[in-house]
Every structure is written in structure tokens, then in C-alpha cells.
Symmetry: C2
Subunit: 214 residues, 2 copies
């Protein structure tokens, strides 16, 4: 498998974690989001990923995009260890936690949105940062009670092993720290994040430990 | 089943379509997103959905949130007719089309984001509308080649019956029209949308045909 990735991209980070949790080997193809105006915009990359986003996964000659679709694919092709529980309603809860990050937080604070605020709407760096912090806080304020409402939850978002929800949480908290967000209001999420990052699958996927880390 | 919904919410629209395609009966509980400062913000609703978003689905005493998580749940509980193909890579392609809408377009043009642009960043209505059009165009420009690249595609986003991708496409094109977007650059998407809207499952889920339609 080949993963088209950028070390600091939190969507790439999610897929690296999932690949590591599944014990799968993969080659990294770095796509630098800032160099040369953005390597993701090159026609050769857009042929692989028309959205001009990372990550993309190449497996058996197929090119797959969108981190959640890729992780669901890995779950279907390599079911052990599972990243989703067995019961359909429980699976929906775990997916809804992942989507609370993937749909409501991350898209609002990614590079191209902040660039639009800076370059097209002429906002200051401080206004762009406050924008990112606002949406991150709103998302985490909702995710904290979602996690706390899980019956008999152990050390992770759902149960006693990492799930899809943890795969999405940890990269988002990495971003939250980059933006200088105050995380003191989310003690459950911070504790889960620490438990995850102590595991090799998460540590080896972290932005600071990649071949393209700057 | 009970669906907490708002007629104009495109995330609610997606779930209504999926329920109809599966032939499932459901009761609608309207949550008015503008009345009284927004009924979704009431503590009684936030107890159901901590994100204060619609839709939520109540089934067998469980409350499920996030439209994609709900549709995946319906697919697992009621597999016929399928909204995802059988092959894992094909499933990933269909999911990636849905996510191209759910992650890259819809979150940037929803009510609370436009309200932040208007009320916090003091942008004009025209600037807020241009923002929405920009992200919708960027998303549809990527989705059109994703759909066109499907081998042997028939009348829908993937194959000859509606899939998860169509469930997400149609409500997004409804929004695109509301924002006055030019859709002439996406002939394949417009054609698929028309084919879908001719089907009762989509027509009966449309915002103009709901109990809470204004």
C-alpha cells in the first residue's frame, strides 16, 4: 500500500494511526501542502485525488480518498483488531464521534479555509486563529459529553481499546494545541488522548515522527 | 423510529431520503433552527444531541446523531435495498463521494458558519453568499470528475441505483440552488440529481414536502 500524505495533515495522521493499529505496512509518498504553491494542486496528483487533498491510499491498483472512507475500507479488508464495535447502534455512536471531528471541526480550520480568511476576506492572523479556536472549542464541547455518556466506558472514547473515534480525536487535539486552544474544559478527551499517544500505533503516526517531518 | 428534523436542513434531507429508499416508516419531530433563537439549542434537545444539530434518529431507545452515521446504521440494520456496493474498494469510492459533500462542502455553508461570518466577522450578506458559493463550487468541481471516473456508471453516482453518494448529492444541489450557484459546469451531477428527484423516495424527502415546511 502507498499512502500519499503530509506529516502535519491531520487527515493523513488519522490514516497513519489506523494503518498502524491494523499492523499494516505501507510506503509513504509525501505531498507537501505548502511547497511550490502546494504539491496537492499538481495535475499529476489531482488525477489521483480530484479534491486536491491528502491523504490518498493506493491499494491493489485502486486509489482511495477521504480519510474516513479509507479507514472504513481498512476495517472491512482487515477486520482485526476491530476499530468499530459489533452492535449497529454502538457503531453509529463511534462513527458519530468521528464525524463530530471530521465534519464539524476539521473542515473549518484546515489550511485552505484559513487561507481564504487571510487572503480573500483580508482577516488578520489573529482573526484567523480565533476562527479556528472557535470551531475547535464548539466541537470539543460537544464531543466531551458524547464520550462521557458512553455506558461502562473504559480508557478510550468507546470501550477499552482504540476505535475509529480515537483515530479522529488524537489528530484533532494535536491541531487544537497548534492553535493554542485551552483544553482544560475537556478532561475526558485530554485523558483519552494521553492514553492513545502512549501506544506505539499513535506515537509512530504522529506528525513529528514522519519521513517528511520538517 | 423518530427523526428529529428541520425541513430545510440538508443533513436531515439526507436521512429522510435514506429512510424512504429503505421503505422505513418514521415519525418526524420538527426542530426549528431559527424559531426562538433556535430550538436545537434548547437543553432538552442538547440532551439528545450534544452538538445541537439536526438530524437525530431515535430507534429502539437509542439516540443516534450525525447523518452519515445514521445512514450507515440504517444500511447495517436494513440492508435491502443496499446503498453501498459489495466490494470494499467500491464502497470506499461511494463513501468518498458522500464525504466530499459532508466534509468539504456542507460544513462551510451551514447556518452557524454563515452567522459567524455575518455577526462576528461583520461580513455583508453578499460576502457570506460568495463564501458559500466558493466552497460549493470547489466541492462540486471535484465531485464531477469523481463521478465521471466510475467505470460503466449508469444513471446515478455509482451504478444504476441510488447509493449513499446520491443521498448526499441531491441535498447539496438543493443548497447550491438556494445560494444561486451556477451549476452549468457539472452536467453529470445535474443529470444524476434530476434522475434522483424523479424517484418518490427523493421527492417525498424534499424540503418543500415536509410537515414542517414553511
Amino acid at each position: 500500500m502507498k499512502l500519499y500524505t503530509f506529516f502535519r495533515s491531520s487527515a493523513s495522521y488519522r490514516v497513519r494511526v489506523a494503518l498502524n493499529l491494523k499492523g499494516l505496512r505501507y510506503e509513504q509518498i509525501p505531498i507537501h501542502l505548502r511547497r511550490g504553491g502546494g504539491e496537492q494542486l499538481a495535475p499529476s496528483y489531482k488525477a489521483i485525488n480530484p479534491q486536491a487533498l491528502v491523504p490518498s491510499l493506493e491499494d491493489n491498483g485502486r486509489f482511495l480518498t477521504q480519510s474516513l472512507a479509507i479507514v472504513e475500507y481498512l476495517e472491512e479488508r482487515h477486520p482485526k483488531p476491530p476499530l468499530l464495535p459489533g452492535d449497529p447502534a454502538d457503531r453509529a455512536v463511534v462513527r458519530s464521534m468521528s464525524l463530530a471531528v471530521a465534519c464539524e471541526v476539521h473542515p473549518l480550520q484546515n489550511l485552505r479555509v484559513l487561507n481564504y480568511l487571510r487572503n480573500v476576506l483580508h482577516h488578520t492572523e489573529e482573526e484567523a486563529t480565533n476562527w479556528a479556536r472557535h470551531w475547535i472549542a464548539l466541537g470539543l464541547e460537544a464531543l466531551e459529553p458524547m464520550v462521557l455518556s458512553v455506558p461502562n466506558r473504559k480508557g478510550f472514547c468507546f470501550g477499552d481499546t482504540p476505535s475509529l473515534a480515537d483515530v479522529f480525536l488524537v489528530p484533532q487535539l494535536y491541531n487544537a494545541r497548534r492553535f493554542g486552544c485551552d483544553l482544560s474544559g475537556y478532561p475526558a478527551l485530554v485523558k483519552i488522548d494521553a492514553a492513545c499517544r502512549a501506544l506505539p500505533a499513535f506515537a509512530n503516526a504522529a506528525p513529528e515522527n514522519q519521513p517528511d517531518t520538517e
